[in-house]
């Protein structure tokens, strides 16, 4: 296991690298930093709400039908209506093909949903353009460990963890800081920005690196109850 590289301004690669061409707009950066706060559960939330709404609507409609709200004649018909069965039997080929397509679509949607839910979060490596014939790849773990090591040395920070997230073309950094009880939060954030993140951007040749900082409290030391 290799030690994480230290991020210093001397190690800065060429500034005309691919990722240092133009800085994205501040609004876009703000959006990327906010979305890096944690792994998004938006897809799962929307899907589960839609499935829930479908079940709710179906359950309510069937309950109303059962209690005769739509007429007692309808409520008295069988669940598998002979009229529907006759219609399906009159077009057997079409019915079977439609049923198979519906089954395949259901299976695919279910598999896509399940695989998206359990897929590990991406940890993109940083691709730095070192010149016309040179391409430098900084591994996600190395870059994140270097930032975490420097952030962990800030006054008021007990320990720190960092992780690169997002797409390779638009990476973002997620930093978790465990603060001491007496830490000055304002000062920690200012030092993190000026001493750690600015250096990291310059060292990695990035014009912009959205960062999501998560603050936690370090485990407090138990104090003696009897002097």
């Amino acid at each position: 296991m290799t030690a994480p590289p230290s991020l210093t301004k001397d190690a800065a690669p060429t500034r005309d690298g691919a990722q240092a061409k133009t800085a994205p707009a501040p609004a876009k950066l703000r959006r990327r930093s906010r979305s890096a706060v944690a792994r998004s559960a938006g897809g799962d939330r929307w899907t589960i709400v839609i499935v829930g709404l479908v079940l709710l609507a179906a359950g309510v409609l069937v309950a109303l039908l059962s209690y005769g709200i739509f007429g007692s004649a309808r409520a008295g018909r069988p669940l598998l209506d002979p009229m529907i069965v006759d219609t399906l039997r009159s077009q057997p080929l079409v019915s079977r093909i439609v049923a198979i397509v519906v089954g395949v679509v259901l299976a695919l949607l279910g598999l896509i949903w399940a695989s998206n839910s359990v897929r590990p979060e991406r940890r993109p490596d940083l691709l730095i353009d070192g010149g016309p014939d040179t391409s430098i790849v900084v591994s996600s773990a190395a870059a994140a460990d270097a930032v975490a090591t420097q952030a962990g040395g800030l006054p008021g920070v007990g320990r720190a963890r960092a992780r690169l997230v997002g797409e390779e073309s638009a990476p973002a950094l997620r930093v978790t800081l465990w603060l001491a009880d007496d830490a000055d939060v304002r000062d920690v954030l200012r030092r993190l920005d000026s001493d750690v993140l600015t250096t990291a951007r310059e060292s990695l040749g990035l014009s912009a690196l959205p960062v999501a900082v998560r603050l936690e409290l370090d485990r407090s030391q138990p104090t003696a109850r009897v002097a």
Binding site: D44, A63, P78, L79, L111, L197
Partner: protein, 179 residues
Amino acid sequence: MRVLLRILAPLLGLALAAAGVLFVIEVVAAWVRPDATTGLVVPWPDWRATLESLTWADTPVPAIAITVAVVGLLLVLIGIAARRSDVHFDAPSPEIAVTTAPRVLARLVGTRVRATDDVASATVTASARKVSVSAQSWNDSTPELRSTVTSRVDDLLAELPLRRRPRVSVSLQERKGPR
């Protein structure tokens, strides 16, 4: 709720996929074996006979419909309640987003309140919008203790670079017995 969402989402996805696969298997099996009287994997001919004999008004149908509706409502509530409840801080630059959990804010407030003289114990609940402190005072405490606790919490919130300052409510109860 987010943990429940993380567990439920892949399970529901797999259930949906399994239902789709079984559906395709049975349709294809019924197509290639037109004389078969039983299903390949699931006994759908028996289910079909039951569905043909039951009407919408028969006994189990409304109960099952209500159960399905309740399950649907629960899923909707889980989806809505699984949003993040972070406390946001002002960041030193626009490309930094700073957040913390409400329990961290509650722990900070609780530590500050418990350090106040005449406070025997305190319970704090916090969100991005409101901080509620429920403190117990010793029976010989001063009458101004509530305002003292409130000002200490206000001072702490002023020290933190919170994007939105939460409202503070303090309730004080007197603890019986000697200190």
